[in-house]
Structure formats: C-alpha cells, structure tokens
C-alpha cells in the first residue's frame, strides 16, 4: 500500500495536482488581465513600466515605519517567506525534482542552512498564527480561508522537516505525506488567497505603475 501510495503521489497525483494548479493559476492570472484597465489619458510624468517593476521588487521589503505589531508581521512574514523559499529552492532533493522536470538545476545549499531555514520558517508561521489569534486587526480580518491557507502552507514545511530527520514515521510514509501535502497546496492554491504567490506581482506592478506614471519615486 505504502509503495502504491508513494507511486501515486509521485505519478498520477502529481499530474493531477500540477494540472489543477496550472489550469487554476493561468486562469486566475489571465482572468485578472481580462478585466482590463483604462489607459490614463493624463500626461505621464514617468514610466509605468519602471515604476511597476520597481515596486514588484521593492515591496518585498516594507520600509514604512510601523508599530510593534506591524514590525512583528513584517519580520515574521519575511522570515517565513525566506525560509520557505530557501528550503524549497535550495534543498538538494528539491533541486533533483526541478532538474527532472525542467532539465536544469543549480547548486544546493548545505543541509545545516536548510535546517535552520526550515526551523525559522516553521517558527515564524506558528508565531504568525498565534498573532492572528491575538491581534485585534488580524482577528477581525481573518476568515476560514486564512486558517485553511495557513494549514496548507504549514504542512509541507512540517512534513518536509520531519522527512529530513525521519521524525515520527518511516521515510516512505513521510515522503508520501510530504508530497501529498504539497499536492494539496497546489490543488487549492489557485482558488484561494494563495494565488497571491503570483497575483502579488501583478498587484505590485499596478500599484507601482500608478506611481511610476506620476513620476513618484517610491
């Protein structure tokens, strides 16, 4: 059963998850553009493109002075995202996957770095969840989807970490759970706010484009 399940998540399951993810994401992103945007008839003072691209990058680092709750959110959020990307992009096993799919890869980071990144990322996520419960603003804003997407993002990190250290279950069980948790994430992401993994760049571009058009250096 275990082998069959592993084979399924590595094969058919992955195909289904990838297909749903790609269909959903391509649909979501193109659909955004399909809604259109009126070109401004005002005289431009700068470039929409450069402003848009600048904000796409720069908004990854919030520089506005914030209160303690804001600073916590920014720092914990940054740690979570960075940890997530470091483990996702630089663990050798993940590069094996990328190389198998795309035909190219890049050097892996040492396991020690990955371990630290994973622990920090998991810790930041737990802290952010607790903050979501106790911070009045976040508590008011939060709905079912926020907790769902938190769980979906947390499981791959957790199972991945357990897999690297073979904690609790056998390698094959953890590997199956890990892949399955990623597939769950892939399947649900396009239909939830996890779509922000792509749409944030569109949003940032539009935000920056308005400023770029007006010649505002932000």
């Amino acid at each position: 059963m275990e082998q069959e399940m592993l084979l399924w998540v590595r094969g058919t399951g992955l195909q289904i998850a990838t297909a749903v993810f790609v269909i959903g994401m391509v649909y979501r992103m193109l659909h955004i553009f399909m809604l259109g945007r009126k070109k401004s008839l005002a005289e431009a003072r700068g470039s929409e493109w450069s402003g848009g691209f600048r904000t796409m990058w720069k908004r990854s680092f919030v520089t506005t002075k914030l209160s303690a709750r804001g600073n916590f959110t920014v720092i914990a959020g940054l740690i979570f995202h960075l940890g997530f990307f470091v483990t996702f992009l630089f663990l050798s096993q993940h590069i094996d996957l990328i190389r198998a799919v795309l035909g190219f890869g890049w050097p892996a980071m040492p396991r020690g770095v990955i371990d630290i990144a994973a622990v920090l990322s998991i810790g930041a996520m737990i802290a952010l969840l607790v903050h979501r419960f106790i911070d009045p603003v976040k508590r008011m804003l939060s709905d079912f989807q926020d907790y769902l997407t938190w769980t979906l993002s947390f499981l791959p990190l957790l199972t991945g970490f357990m897999l690297l250290r073979e904690i609790g279950f056998e390698y094959i069980t953890l590997l199956t759970l890990h892949i399955a948790s990623v597939e769950l994430l892939l399947v649900i992401a396009p239909f939830t706010k996890l779509a922000h993994m792509f749409s944030t760049f569109i949003a940032r571009w539009y935000n920056g484009a308005v400023n770029g058009f007006k010649g505002i250096e932000i």
């Binding site: 391509v26 096993q93 094996d96």
Partner: protein, 363 residues
C-alpha cells in the same frame, strides 16, 4: 536419507561439526533479532526436527529465486537447511519428470494434508482463466488453489509471488497477481526481493521449524526481522546523505569518494530489506557497496516506479506535458470566462445611471 533421521544426525553424517551448526543457529538468531538465549533454543529445536514435507510450486517466474538459493559458490550452511526438509516437489530441482513428478506432488499433498509447507515462486496469471501459464495442462491458478487447500502455511518466495513482480508490471498482459491476492484462508509469509536474500529464506524456514509458527510480519506480510528497516537506515553511506553529499554521476569525484547515491536513483530510503546488514554472496557486499543504487526490488510495484536512475523526488510520470496541456486549458478558460465577465462589466456600466446634482438633494 531416512525418514526418522534428525537434522543433527544428518549433519554429523555429512561431517558438519556441532560447532558450525551452533554458529549457524546463532547467526539465525541474530538476523531475526531474537533474544541472546535463543540460539541454543534454535539449535535444540532444529536438532530434533523431523523432516516436514515441502512442496515448491514455480509459476510465472524466472527461476532467479531458486538460483539465489542454490547457486552459492561454495556449499553454505544455509543450503543445509534444505537437507532437513523433504522437498517433495520442485520442478527445477527434482529428479522426476512428467507424470511421475506430478504424481509425487499429489502423493505428498494427500499424505501430509494440512501439514505441508507450500513454497511458491512466481506470480499467477489469472486473465482469461489463467491460460497464460500452465504445468502439465493445468493452470497455475488451479494448481495453487489445490495445493493451498492442504497447506499448513504458504511462503511466497520472491517479489513475483509476494507482490506480482515483473509479470504484474504495467501493462500486465497476463493479469498476473500475487499469492496473497488469491489465497485468503491460509497464513502467508512474503519473502520479497528480486531475488530474495538466501539467508532470509532459510532464516524464515528455520524460524518456522523451530517455533512451529510464522514469525512476526509487517503490513506487507514480510517477516519484520528482515524487512523491519530500510536499506537507507542501515546503509554505510548514510552519513553522506545526512551531510548532503551526493554522487552526481557514476564516475564523478563523489562516486569515487563513496558518497550517497540518492541522486542517482537509489531507492534505499523506501526499500525494506536486509541487504545492508545480511549482504550477498557470502557477505561479500550488496549493490550500494558495488557503487549502484538500490532498485527497491523487495517492494511492491518496483518495476512501475519509474526509472531505476530517477531520484526519488523526481516525478514518476510526465508532468511537463500535463502542465503544458493545463496551461492551454487554463488560458482558454480565462479568455472565455474573461470575455463573459467583460461583457457583464460592460452591461453593468451601460445600465448604470448617470449621477446628477439632483441625486444629491434630499432623500
């Protein structure tokens, strides 16, 4: 060999010392992770054991399992275990042939009904009434069912008998299945591997003979004593895995340094077997020591799990084509639904009534 002779007597006749016999028993005890005192218990039990009848049926198989067991470079103690059983039917090893052979099988089945041990290697084709493999005009399916009825227990030797093996791999033209898919009423012990480790076969038989019962099994019906851990767990290259040191090709620096073969497709982490501890060819080594990754041969569906050289994290199916097709579907859907939504938006804009200053006055 006389029917009433015990194994001890038989060994003495063959010139095997008691010391060697005890060593074998100790090795068996260790392999099966039995308590320290068990070696003498095994010795005592085995020494007294009478020859039980064993029927060995070979179905859709390659004889590799039998080869594994018999083709040792020098006669080993393991091979002696066969001397203590009465192998009443084994179509590769038996001297009799044709009707005489089948007669021997039927006689044994009748005489030892309910007591004989049934060993099976090879899978059983069941498609089209099982016509794809027959012996003496009878289908494997038929023969298995008949033989199983009177067996005390069944040992499925090799991955084909245990899980279906190669014949069962996609697209499985003969409808090959494992013994356990057909027989539900008898205790079955799976000794998987392609082929299984000879010591594991003899170990299980020794256990059965000593204790008169099957050893503890895992959820795949395999003896836990041998299949309780993965190759990866006991691999001497494991430290390199933990350090993230991997051979990238079979002839690079990493390969020469004996680094982990994970990226070259080693299935050790997901494979339960005793290769890393028991080893092969009289303890000479096991595949990873020879510089090749584990194929995962003792696990179900190992033929269908993608290339032997594909690393575990890699997809076992073509996701690129799926993704490309999905992108097209998604794009078409977005443009279609987008156009509809755009129409809805335009309609909303058109049906919107213009605000005038009158609208700001009063309520």
């Amino acid at each position: 060999m006389k029917e009433h002779e015990t194994l001890e007597q038989r060994l003495q006749e063959q010139g095997v010392s008691r010391r060697s016999f005890l060593k074998f028993c100790a090795a068996m005890a260790t392999m099966m992770a039995l308590p320290p005192g068990s070696a003498s218990a095994i010795a005592a039990a085995l020494a007294k054991v009478k020859r039980p009848s064993v029927i060995w049926l070979s179905f859709q198989e390659c004889t590799g399992c039998t080869e594994s067991l018999t083709r040792s470079h020098s006669p080993t103690l393991e091979s002696l275990i066969f001397d203590m059983i009465s192998l009443d039917y084994h179509h590769t090893l038996q001297a009799a042939s044709g009707f005489a052979a089948e007669q021997a099988r039927e006689d044994a089945m009748k005489e030892f009904h309910g007591k004989y041990l049934l060993l099976v290697d090879g899978s059983i084709p069941i498609k089209d009434g099982g016509v794809y493999s027959t012996i003496a005009g009878r289908t494997n399916l038929d023969m298995l069912q008949e033989a199983a009825a009177g067996a005390a227990a069944i040992v499925a030797v090799g991955s084909c008998a245990a899980f279906g093996g190669l014949p069962n791999a996609q697209p499985n033209p003969t409808g090959a299945v494992a013994v356990s898919d057909l027989i539900k009423s008898k205790p079955i012990i799976n000794i998987s591997g392609c082929p299984p480790i000879p010591a594991v076969i003899t170990g299980v038989l020794a256990h059965y003979l000593t204790f008169g019962a099957l050893p503890a099994l895992d959820d795949q019906g395999r003896p836990k004593a041998f299949y309780g851990e993965t190759i990866h767990d006991r691999c001497y290259r494991r430290p390199f895995y933990d350090q993230g040191k991997f051979a990238k090709t079979f002839d690079d620096e990493g390969a020469r340094n004996g680094w982990c073969l994970y990226e070259l497709g080693c299935k050790g982490p997901t494979t339960h077997n005793a290769c890393a501890t028991t080893k092969w060819n009289g303890g000479a080594g096991f595949p990873i020591e020879a510089g090749h990754g584990c194929l995962g041969c003792s696990e179900p569906k190992f033929w269908d799990a993608g290339s032997f050289y594909t690393p575990l994290p890699a997809p076992a199916a073509d996701v690129t084509s799926a993704a490309k097709a999905a992108a097209v579907v998604g794009a078409v859907a977005a443009v279609t639904v987008g156009a509809i939504d755009r129409g809805k938006k335009t309609l909303a804009q058109q049906s919107r009534e213009k605000i005038t200053v009158e609208d700001l006055k009063g309520n």
